[in-house]
Structures are given as structure tokens and as C-alpha cells.
């Protein structure tokens, strides 16, 4: 450990912590940071990044730590930069359906705050995750069918780049072509370009009435056919996704969710029944949002459990026991893609990203290489996550020509390469 820690402590005082318990709590994939910095303002965070840049110390931005393992392990010596104290709701104007929030606010707090005015951010994200973490990882799930991804919900952002300079992009209005859309660049950049400090979102009215339509199938093929039949109806659905019932139960479970007025929902149920007749295992029910809210549940928690974990109940945080594989494909390749990872598959969708859980513990390097190679041949995008302790040379596949541009963008906004180095495609 260099002398920089003492200098750092003398410059930033209590905002720098070297306590073992705190450091261990901020470890990432079993690598412990040299110190944990918890700035109390954007300006202080910027000063810390300036210091780190001058001393070429790797900086790992961190929120609540729920998604540890989502990118490659950090370097052996690094500084954890926590957004814990940057956790304020800056602005919420219900009449504009726009809110600006600091990165460190947990998603459930943000969700509950805007829910008091009847609005929400329709993202499937762990309730404990921070806003900054959700944006840095471009978190989304099955509800993206109805609402799109964060790219469709973010209006502006403030970021402290790797050179320690605070820069904003976008704005606080719902339509904006003023300057480059750098906010799009930061969504899903895994903190490699800077620390996201503030985000402005376009919100939606909180739905009050909704339905689930759930059907169980014995085979993959049956579930795929059902999913396509429903997709062809062009109904305004929020979720259309197949999940494996559980790791020990091979049945597949198709969940459809929609919101709307009673008349709309009655019509949707009718159409669903026509496309995929109910069988002995199917159910349709009203969503329980209002009931659970009145019992004190967080909007984020309800959304999360009704979406991703509907079929298992709220167990634990996702995928802690196995590596996760995110796959992006066009539907014509769905059958072939599923065959490659058939025995691991956990869930998939007709339109948009699928997710598979690989629950071999540990995932072997040989198997990972096979999957990667076959996906590349098929033209399927993929990303391995949570592969702690397994050496996979490139979890995003073979480098592509456009990665050269990404490297240059990283060099432009993080000249010393201190932000999350070596953890993403660049």
C-alpha cells in the first residue's frame, strides 16, 4: 500500500475509511479495497477522483453492492468510492413527470418517494440497488417489453469523469437534442467513464389496476409457441416471459402481465385465452399492487417480485449461487440459442433480452468457452456475470472493431484509465 492513503486521509478526513470491517464490506469478488471513500458532496467526490488520477489509483464506484460480480474482478489495489451519502432526491415535479435524484439513493426509497405522487420508474431492479448502480449496469428485466430500457427513461445526467471534472449532459425536459447524448454513453458503462452522481428520469403514472396471466408448460417448445402466439396479438403488455418453474422442477411458466382500465384488462384476458387456452395449471389474477402497498410494501419491491421473482416468491438476491448469462438475440435464433444452453436455461422472452442461469458451481472454463464459441457462431450477444473464481478470458466474446472506438472514448473521458480499469470491454 502506498503512502497515498495517509495523504488521502489527511486531505479528506472522515470521508476516507480504512477500518477493516468497512473495507471488507466493500470488497468485490473477494478483493478488498485499500480504503473506502464516502464523499458527502459532488465536489468532494470530484476532488477525490482528481487525487486518485494524480496518483494513478484505480477507483471502483460502488453503491449498495447488490450486483457484485457483474463485471470482471477489480485490480488488486483499489479505492472504493461509495455514493452512500450522495442520496438525495433533488427534484420531483409531478406535473412534469420528471425527477432528478442523486446516484446513491436506493431504488426502493426513490420509488416510494415518487409513488406518493402516483408515479414510478418502471424498471425491474433489486429494491436495495442504488440509482447509480442501476444506471451504470443498465439494469432492466421483463418489463422492458412494455416500457423500454433506461435509454428510454433517462433525460439527463451529471457524471464526474476520470479526470475529476464534473460534467452534465442532457437536461430535465422530456425531449432534448441539445448537445451530444453522452447520457446514453454512460448507461451501462459500468462506471468505466466516471462516477454517475445525478440522474434525471422521465417517470410514468403508477398503474393501479393490472393482471397476471400465468400458464405452465411441460416443454420448451410448447412455451415458445405460446409466447409467439401472444406476441403476434400486439397487445399492450408489460411482461411476456417464460421462466423455468424452479431449478428442480423442469416445467416452464409463462407470465404475462398488463396494466390498464378494467375494460382494457378484461379485453386483454379474453385475447390471451384465445391465443393460449388456459390449461389445468393456468391462472389469471389481479395484480396485488394496491393491497401490498397498503400493507407497507415498497413499490420497487412489489415490482421486482411480481416481475422477475414472481414464480419463486422473494427468495434471495438473484443468482448468487451460479454464474449468470445474459443473452441478446433475434427471435428467429431463439431455438438455436436455447439448445446451446438448454440444460441451464432459466427464462427467456420473445422480444428482447433473455437471461439464463448457469448453475454449475463452479462453471468450468471449458464449458464457458464452448458456450461463447457457439453463441458467436450463431450471432447471439452475450455477457457472463457473477463468475467469481473462474477465468474466462473475455466474458463479452471476441473483441469487435467498434471496441476500438470505445477504448478511445474511455481514454478521452478517463485519460489515466483509473475508473474501473480492466473490468469491462474497455
Amino acid at each position: 500500500m502506498g503512502d497515498w492513503v495517509q495523504q488521502f486521509k489527511s486531505q479528506f478526513g472522515d470521508a476516507v475509511c480504512t477500518d477493516d470491517v468497512v473495507r471488507c464490506a466493500h470488497s468485490d469478488q473477494d478483493i478488498v479495497p485499500v480504503c473506502v471513500c464516502i464523499p458527502e458532496s459532488e465536489a468532494q467526490a470530484a476532488a477525490m477522483i482528481c487525487f486518485a488520477e494524480a496518483h494513478k489509483i484505480p477507483v471502483v464506484p460502488c453503491g449498495s453492492g447488490v450486483s457484485e460480480g457483474s463485471c470482471a474482478p477489480p485490480p488488486s489495489e483499489f479505492l472504493a468510492l461509495s455514493t452512500k451519502r450522495l442520496n438525495k432526491l433533488i427534484h420531483h415535479e409531478p406535473g412534469d413527470m420528471v425527477a432528478t435524484v442523486q446516484a446513491g439513493m436506493p431504488f426502493h426509497q426513490f420509488s416510494d418517494s415518487i409513488a406518493t405522487k402516483g408515479q414510478w420508474l418502471p424498471v425491474d431492479a433489486p429494491p436495495e440497488a442504488t440509482i447509480g448502480g442501476i444506471v451504470a449496469q443498465n439494469t432492466h428485466g421483463p418489463r422492458s417489453l412494455g416500457y423500454g430500457t433506461l435509454r428510454d427513461m433517462i433525460l439527463g445526467m451529471t457524471v464526474i469523469n476520470g479526470d475529476g471534472v464534473i460534467r452534465k449532459c442532457g437536461g430535465k425536459v422530456v425531449k432534448n437534442v441539445t448537445g451530444y447524448a453522452l447520457d446514453k454513453l454512460y448507461i451501462g458503462s459500468f462506471g468505466t467513464l466516471g462516477l454517475i452522481s445525478e440522474v434525471t428520469f422521465k417517470l410514468r403514472p403508477l398503474p393501479v389496476d393490472g393482471i397476471f396471466y400465468d400458464v405452465f408448460f411441460a416443454t420448451t417448445n410448447e412455451s415458445i409457441s405460446a409466447m409467439h402466439a401472444i406476441a403476434a396479438k400486439n397487445l399492450p403488455l408489460e411482461i411476456l416471459q417464460v421462466f423455468k418453474y424452479s431449478r428442480s422442477d423442469p416445467r416452464f411458466f409463462l407470465r404475462v402481465a398488463a396494466t390498464g382500465t378494467p375494460a382494457e384488462l378484461a379485453r386483454i384476458i379474453e385475447d390471451l385465452r384465445q391465443s393460449v387456452p388456459e390449461n389445468e395449471f393456468s391462472t389469471s389474477s389481479k395484480t396485488d399492487v394496491e393491497e401490498r402497498r397498503s400493507n407497507g410494501a415498497s413499490v420497487a419491491d412489489i415490482s421486482w417480485t411480481n416481475g422477475i421473482f414472481a414464480y419463486r416468491g422473494r427468495q434471495s438476491l438473484p443468482f448468487l449461487n451460479g454464474a449468470t448469462l445474459h443473452i441478446g438475440y433475434v427471435s428467429s435464433k431463439l431455438d438455436s440459442a436455447l439448445k446451446i444452453v438448454e440444460r441451464y436455461i432459466d427464462g427467456y422472452r420473445s422480444i428482447g433480452m433473455t437471461e439464463a442461469v448457469i448453475d454449475i458451481d463452479p462453471l468450468s472454463e471449458v464449458e464457458a468457452a464452448r458456450i461463447a464459441s457457439e453463441f458467436e457462431k450463431l450471432g447471439v450477444n452475450f455477457a457472463f456475470e457473477n463468475i467469481v473464481g473462474v477465468n474466462i478470458p473475455n466474458r463479452w466474446g471476441t473483441p469487435r472493431p467498434e471496441w476500438a472506438i470505445m477504448k478511445q472514448i474511455k481514454a478521452a473521458l478517463d485519460p489515466q484509465g483509473i475508473m474501473n480499469p480492466g473490468r469491462f470491454v474497455v
Binding site: 415535479e93 409531478p94 406535473g95 412534469d96 413527470m97 420528471v98 423500454g148 435509454r151 428510454d152 469523469n161 471534472v165 460534467r167 452534465k168 449532459c169 437536461g171 430535465k172 425536459v173 422530456v174 425531449k175 432534448n176 437534442v177 441539445t178 448537445g179 451530444y180 447524448a181 453522452l182 446514453k184 454513453l185 448507461i187 451501462g188 467513464l193 403514472p205 403508477l206 400486439n234 397487445l235 390498464g260 382500465t261 375494460a263 382494457e264 378484461a266 379485453r267 386483454i268 441478446g328 433475434v330 427471435s331 428467429s332 428482447g352 433480452m353 450477444n381 452475450f382 455477457a383 469487435r400 472493431p401 467498434e402 471496441w403 472506438i405 472514448i409 478521452a412 470491454v425 474497455v426
Partner: protein
């Protein structure tokens, strides 16, 4: 230099030969007479004669043209049909214009995955027409959608009335093949989601041709709504109508479109097209609701109740598609109608938070009176996307000066209310000088760093989108890029 003198073509002979070699001599226009028609886009206030206009038919030809320009250290710019309203397709400094209108093929329509692949010169509306059999459409619908190209929509991140519900161009583009300013051809994103790395597609959209030229575009297609209901709500004043807008949004209703048309436009349109719009109205709201047939009537009732609460005098509901198209005709022909009554007009594109609409429209009214200019309003009210139209006479230097001053004050008011300079037209050349009102030098310098990644020599549509430097005073100065190679058209 004499600002009003016609510019001469200054293209080096060697570059002209290289361009002719790249695409064939018949596909290169040069010389004043041939290129004059390309001296501006829909923003006619500033003009510059292109060094040459090159008609290309594929990415390889574009690459060759770009490489020839780079070798000669000469600027170049892509152009579709030139309908842009911010000077984005104006050939500053006699740039070489790469004309994409001939690259107009729809390459693929994939209904199962709801996307299409198009060349950049495809007319926006033609894609929607081509998808009709699949009950899908391309959602961004600028007023110029019958003429503008999808390549231009990508460059400017265009919007349209229905972007209120469906989002702007960036929300509907999933991949781009582009010729970079180096001449290299790359593919960013594509039909399958989860492309690894940064979202370069998202970054590329709206970069106004400064990051390269799109040669193939993957467009997301949107299912057609099962039913549509179009309402015309009549209000006594602009203020009441704008309060109606904030009331509808505030009630958590997101219509497919929510447009405000003021009395000046109503009169201009009525006198021309005789559509039966109420001449005694202060303003009308054109409200379109769509979705499942079931529930649409209930939603319309809610909207009408909000309108009534805010002083709405009457509501006309289109009884069939013919009447719906008639109501939309008034909106879509507004600019044409204004053209009939006034020799010149200047359209703005600022966006404000929707709750600020009543205050902003009052401010615009005051500014019009201050400069003794008529300022009309026809705009995407639901998005807060203003389009004040300042009427002036280009032959009256005082009015030109006043129109520019009025524009400047409106821009400042937009920014003071927490808004943005442009919602869908782009910064182009027109709003460049106002950028420092919105972003500080650090913000702009960050944008320039990213631009230099794509175009270190700054030859791809130079002088647009982001100011190349900011150390100049905003008020009372020309943007630095105007000092050379441009004349004021009506100055």
C-alpha cells in the same frame, strides 16, 4: 468580406477529380449554378454554396468520398432531402455535400422481431407505408415525414407529434452502420439486444453528422394501435389551453399526441383550407388518444373533463378517419398556411417543463409585443416542445434584426425556465451560439473530446452541434464559424 456577396466555389481541382473518380463524373455536381439549390436546408437564414454535391449509392462510395476529402483536408457533410430546420445540412465553408437521397431502399422488414433495416435516404413515411401489411409503423413522425429521410431523422434525433407517447428517434433506432470520418465502415448495435460495450448507437443518434454518416439503419417498428380517437378542444385563450395541457399531463394521462394551435394559425389555415375550425377560439388543442378499443371512450371522457375544468368551450370528436385526417391537416399544413400570409418566418424549437407552459406562452406574447412582431404558436404542447413562429419581412432590415433579437430573448427565457434549446430540430448552426447558456465550458469540452474520438480533424459537418470554442460572448456576436464562408441570406 462582403457578407452578402455570392460565394464562389473553392473546391480544389484535385479533390474534384478524386470525387469524380470515386463515384463517376455524372454523379458529381460542381460550379455555382449546379450547386446553388443545395446552399441551405429548411433553415434559410444562413446559406453557403457547397464545394460539390456528390450522389452516392452505397457505403463503399461514401467511404471513398470521405477518404478523398480527408486526404485533401476538406470538410464534408451528409444530406438527405434538406428539410432540416437548424442549418444542420448547410454546407458551411463550402463543404462537399454527400447526397444520400438515392440510397432509398428498405432492405428488410422483420415483423417477428419488429424491426426494419433501411438505407439513410428512405423517406420516413415510406417505411411506415411499407410496414402497413404487418400492422406496424415507424413511430417518429416529424411534420415533414412525407419528405424527410430517416438518415436525417437519425442525425437530428427528430421527433413529431406522436413522440409524446412513443418517444423520439433515438428510442426507435437499435443499430447503425456508419462511415466514420476516417472513411472506415463500422457497425454499431444491431437487431439483437445486449450488444457488448458502450451504447454507441445511442450516442450516434443526434450527433448531427459530426460522428460520421449512417449508411444502414436498424429501425424499431411499433405495433399500430387498435383504435384511435381524435379530439379538438376549443379554448377561449392560449393561456386556458396551455393550462388544459398541464392539467392532462398532471392527471397522469399520456395521450398519443397533444398539440396546441393558436388563433393566428387557425385563421391562416381556415382562410386557406376551410376546414371548419372555430375562428373565435383563442386556441385549440388537438388531442389524440390510442390503444385498445376497450377503454378508449373512458379515457376520452377523462380528457374532456380535464379540458372543461380549464375553461374549454367545446370539444369536437372526429367521427371517422376522414375527419381525423382533416383535423390533422390543419396541424400539418400550419407552416404552409403561414407561408401564404407572411414572406418570412423563423421557427423555434425550445422545450420547457410542461408545468411552465402558461408562463412561457405569456412571455412569448409579451416579447412579440415588445418587438411589434406577430409570433404564432403551433406546437407539441404535451412534450413542452415549443415552436413559436416569428413572422417578419426579409426585405425590412429592422424586422430581421428584431426577429433575431426576439428569438434570442425567447431562447433565454426557455433556458431560465429549466428548458432545452431544441427538442427535435437539432442545434445545427442556428442555435450554436446559445449552447453556453445551457452547458458550461467543462460540459462542452467533454462533448468536444468525444467528437475528437470520431473526427479528430473536425471535417465531418464542422461548425455544427457543439461550438468549437466558447470563449466568446454570447450576446451580440456571430458564432465564430460564421466569420468565414457564409453569407446571411436576408441580412
Amino acid at each position: 468580406m462582403n457578407a452578402s456577396a455570392p460565394l464562389e466555389n473553392k473546391l480544389p481541382a484535385a479533390l474534384l477529380a478524386a470525387l469524380q473518380n470515386a463515384v463517376g463524373a455524372p454523379n458529381v455536381l460542381s460550379g455555382r449554378d449546379e450547386t446553388l439549390v443545395y446552399d441551405c436546408d429548411g433553415m434559410t437564414l444562413h446559406k453557403s454554396l457547397p464545394g460539390a454535391v456528390v450522389f452516392v449509392k452505397n457505403a463503399a462510395e461514401i467511404s471513398a468520398v470521405v477518404k478523398a476529402c480527408v486526404a485533401a483536408n476538406y470538410p464534408f457533410i451528409a444530406r438527405g432531402t434538406g428539410t432540416g430546420l437548424s442549418g444542420g445540412a448547410m454546407a458551411l465553408n463550402n463543404a462537399v455535400v454527400i447526397e444520400l437521397a438515392r440510397m432509398n431502399r428498405i432492405l428488410e422488414i422483420n415483423a417477428a422481431d419488429r424491426y426494419a433495416v433501411v438505407e439513410p435516404g428512405v423517406i420516413n413515411l415510406n417505411l411506415t407505408k411499407a410496414c402497413a401489411g404487418h400492422a406496424l409503423h415507424f413511430a417518429p413522425d416529424p411534420s415533414s415525414q412525407g419528405a424527410c429521410t430517416i438518415g436525417g431523422n437519425v442525425a437530428e434525433n427528430s421527433g413529431g407529434p406522436h413522440t409524446l407517447k412513443y418517444g423520439v428517434t433515438i428510442n426507435h433506432i437499435i443499430g447503425v452502420e456508419a462511415v466514420l470520418p476516417s472513411g472506415e465502415i463500422v457497425t454499431l448495435g444491431g437487431p439483437a439486444p445486449q450488444s457488448p460495450g458502450y451504447d454507441l448507437t445511442g450516442l450516434f443518434v443526434g450527433s448531427e453528422g459530426t460522428f460520421g454518416i449512417a449508411t444502414k439503419i436498424w429501425c424499431r417498428l411499433t405495433p399500430n394501435p387498435e383504435a384511435v380517437k381524435t379530439l379538438l378542444a376549443v379554448f377561449p385563450t392560449v393561456d386556458a389551453a396551455s393550462r388544459g395541457v398541464t392539467g392532462i399531463i398532471g392527471a397522469g394521462i399520456v395521450p398519443a399526441a397533444l398539440e396546441l394551435i393558436d388563433k393566428h394559425i387557425i385563421h391562416a389555415v381556415e382562410n386557406w383550407l376551410h376546414l371548419g375550425f372555430p375562428l373565435d377560439a383563442g386556441a385549440v388543442l388537438l388531442i389524440e388518444l390510442d390503444g385498445l378499443r376497450d377503454g378508449l371512450d373512458a379515457l376520452a371522457e377523462r380528457v374532456m373533463a380535464v379540458c372543461t375544468e380549464h375553461g374549454c368551450i367545446s370539444v369536437r370528436v372526429a367521427k371517422d378517419n376522414a375527419e381525423r385526417l382533416l383535423l390533422w391537416k390543419a396541424r400539418k399544413q400550419a407552416f404552409g398556411a403561414i407561408g401564404r400570409i407572411c414572406p418570412s418566418f423563423y421557427i423555434q424549437d425550445g422545450v420547457i417543463p410542461r408545468t411552465k407552459l402558461p408562463a412561457m406562452l405569456a412571455k412569448i406574447d409579451v416579447l412579440g409585443q415588445k418587438y411589434s412582431l406577430t409570433v404564432c404558436n403551433v406546437f407539441h404542447a404535451g412534450d413542452g416542445n415549443l415552436h413559436p413562429i416569428i413572422l417578419y419581412d426579409e426585405k425590412n432590415p429592422k424586422q430581421v434584426e428584431d426577429a433575431l433579437a426576439c428569438n434570442s430573448e425567447i431562447m433565454r427565457a426557455v433556458v431560465e425556465m429549466g428548458g432545452a434549446l431544441s427538442g427535435e430540430h437539432g442545434i445545427g448552426l442556428e442555435k450554436l451560439e446559445f449552447m453556453p447558456l445551457v452547458y458550461n465550458e467543462d460540459d462542452l469540452e467533454g462533448m468536444r473530446r468525444v467528437r475528437d474520438v470520431f473526427d479528430p480533424k473536425r471535417l465531418s459537418n464542422p461548425g455544427k452541434a457543439v461550438p468549437s470554442r466558447c470563449c466568446w460572448e454570447v450576446k451580440g456576436h456571430e458564432p465564430p464559424s460564421l466569420a468565414f464562408g457564409v453569407r446571411k441570406a436576408h441580412g
